[in-house]
Symmetry: C2
Amino acid sequence: MSIEAVVPFKPVNPKSRLSSVLTKAERELFAEAMLTDVVMSLKEAGCNPFILSTVPLHCSHAEVTVSGEGLNPALNSLIGSSSGALLIIMADLPLVTPGVVRRIISTPCDMALGPGRGGGTNAIFMKDRSRFHVDYYGASFLKHREIAEKAGLSCEIVDSFRLHTDVDEKEDLVELMIHGRGKALEFLKGCGFSLLIEKGRVGVSRCTEE
Amino acid sequence: MSIEAVVPFKPVNPKSRLSSVLTKAERELFAEAMLTDVVMSLKEAGCNPFILSTVPLHCSHAEVTVSGEGLNPALNSLIGSSSGALLIIMADLPLVTPGVVRRIISTPCDMALGPGRGGGTNAIFMKDRSRFHVDYYGASFLKHREIAEKAGLSCEIVDSFRLHTDVDEKEDLVELMIHGRGKALEFLKGCGFSLLIEKGRVGVSRCTEE
């Protein structure tokens, strides 16, 4: 039986920290490209993904549920409304491969957490969702680890840079240019981004055609 | 037989990008603490580590070889002077555990590369060192992948955030505060660092006693 996987998504004015290199319209397309990459990896790994969106959205690869609630109440409603295994995975993880998803969902523990850079939580897998609740924002990884501990749930911390690397800032685009594949990389290249090496540091530059 | 592991190390004025939060003397102690953590993880994983230092150095946990050459010629001399397996791993990886080291050295491929954030290479493992040479600086991960390809060597890319996270900047200290253990974490805590959550972002702050 395929595992249910939810991908929270905010289509409007996403990825504001990329404003210096991408327009609002481009950021929306880029966020959708990253979402598609995540959804395709989930499907290839045998999961049954759906998108939890803040506004109505068309996606040809997965069903969309709309919720006007904040991230925590929306996800906790979802957890409370059903039972069984659930994977929550963020939409801005274009480096995630089907292999990474399989590593998460094949944990021998009761659950698995995928830490994100800067204290966040990029993935939560629960074999029995009724025993957990989410608390995103801030150092959510530490909060989630504590919630698991208090609930007596054994918890694997998935050690993957592909899962750890959420794309929020210009520096993160370097990771995508180096380790990416899929739609998000294609989008960046289409925008004219390339790697730029200056004084031994690696960055990205964008050349726009006239 | 234990695998030889070399840890390049620059003891003098290291980690200059941490100058805003650590004095030169503190950065030297911090770099040594990170080195110790890496060396201890190597030993616990069954490797035989030695330090390749730019200047004479006392270390109670591993032998020290001094080389005045740059990183690339020093390592390539070392590769050329002997045969057999070799692991090269950077000294600023305090999140690396013995488990990560075991993942690297148990690759089924001819060699393994551990990418570092920003295009760098944090670990190179060669089953037969005579077929490889190193080319650090810039986007060295891409260069190393190409060198392996041209030499016809199968190469695993080790997907580990613990290996990917080299500590260079203030933001990287967040990762150490959250995921660290060992001497480097102890040193930071002793300096008065703690996590600071402001407007949903996680950083570090330092409180110095009067």
